[in-house]
Amino acid sequence: MSRDYIAKRIAKEFRDGMYVNLGIGIPTESANYIPAGTEVFLQTENGGLMFGPKPERGESDPDLANAGAEPITMLPGGAVFDVATSFAMIRGGHIDMTVVGALEVDQAGSIASWKIPGKLLTGMGGAMDLLYGCKRVIVAMTHTDKHGNSKIRKRCTLPLTAAAVVDMIITDKAVFRVAEDGLYLEELAAAVTVAEIERLTEATIMNIGEWQESEMS
């Protein structure tokens, strides 16, 4: 339910002609909600542009897979290449937008997503390159962890994946813009109150007062 909400909300950020790299999980699901009339070119960091949905059984190709090693198809006009080319594309600033999950994001736009000391050891994979190189970075995640703790922090407590790169945060409860001077609340999900956001967000929200006023007027 909240998963769908997040995926649908991400899809509103797509613009016609954009080249986008979507992280696995909810970001990838957002591709199901690309608005009609908007053409979005999906990049996969293992070496493909303009890939399509997964194939039918019997139609898969062992040489066409996404960055999660899952079978995909290529759309007409799609291109394949090697990983050196792919990361030249990513790091070189050629991808318009990436949407990724996170463990924590902070009000400076820093993000932690790859490591929990003593607990989670996976390696950073391509995340650091994507977060550095893509022109626009959107973090999509649940607002709180399973214990109800805020994942939007004054300052990330976990090892960073990248410092000061996030442009927007989309959660199941709200949408924030990360500006030079801090975090701005942009939207609330249905039935979510400003008071709830204030309670569930550790980070300082620059415009929280204005939001209360506009709600009360």
Binding site: T44, P62, D82, V83, G123, G125, M128, D129
Partner: protein, 236 residues
């Protein structure tokens, strides 16, 4: 100039403690037969250089070498797909050397292209700073990483000719860069065709980089292997 040999002959090029690059991406487009042969041969204390671990869940492709405890060092950007490998790393049975994925690939490219280092902004402001040297270029801070080379590269292509000219299909992944950066390069192909059968524009890796050719599964067999794997793991 390349020489066609059997997987049994090819695996003898790899010795205990060899460093071995393995092409592919998290289990996709890997040299399946050669990995099986390395598992069978029981070569030990390998340094494996691969962009990630094996297929999700472990025990498949490179994951077989993990189960066999044949690996003493893993040079990569991601091990999250193989819980067995993570366990061996936590238990300090396997040493882990991480770089961000783009940096990992670029380090191999540098190793093959005779460049002295990779200078990248990726990882600044993170723990990655501790894995590299910091340098300033034009008043901006960067991380300087050293090139990566291997004793042997075991890569995968769709087909080749007897000169070792390789043609890739779909994502070629890490195979093209790895082909340039090892003392001995072994390619596993679906099919071997005559010289001239691959148009000069369609050669992804010229034979100059290839030492040994090994005939792998046919394309149809390989397709069946992946269909089964993907269906079994609920991806298809």
């Amino acid at each position: 100039m390349a020489v066609q040999i059997t997987t049994q002959e090819a695996v003898k090029k790899i010795r205990d403690k060899s460093s071995v690059m393995i092409g592919g991406f998290l289990g996709a487009a890997v040299p399946l037969k050669m990995i099986d042969e390395i598992a069978t041969a029981g070569i030990k204390e390998l340094t494996v250089i691969s962009i990630g671990a094996g297929y999700r869940g472990g025990g498949v492709d490179i994951g077989k070498l993990v189960l066999n405890k044949q690996i003493s060092k893993y040079v990569t950007s991601h091990v999250g797909t193989d819980p067995n490998l993570i366990k061996q790393i936590v238990n300090q049975e396997v040493e882990l050397e991480l770089s961000p994925m783009g940096t990992f690939v670029e380090r191999i490219r540098a190793g093959g292209a005779g460049l002295g280092a990779v200078v990248t902004p990726v990882g600044m402001g993170t723990e990655v700073e501790e894995m590299a040297e910091k340098i300033i270029v034009d008043d901006k801070p960067y991380l300087l990483f050293k090139p990566i080379r291997a004793d042997v590269a075991v890569i995968k292509a769709h087909r080749c000719d007897p000169l070792g000219n390789l043609q890739y299909k779909g994502m070629s992944n890490t195979s093209p860069v790895m082909a340039t950066a090892a003392d001995i390069v072994i390619v596993e192909v679906d099919e071997i065709v005559e010289v001239g059968a691959i148009a000069c524009e369609n050669i992804g890796t010229p034979g100059i980089f290839v030492d040994y050719i090994v005939k792998g599964h046919s394309y149809q067999e390989r397709k069946n292997v992946y269909e089964e794997l993907w269906i079994a793991t609920n991806k298809l």
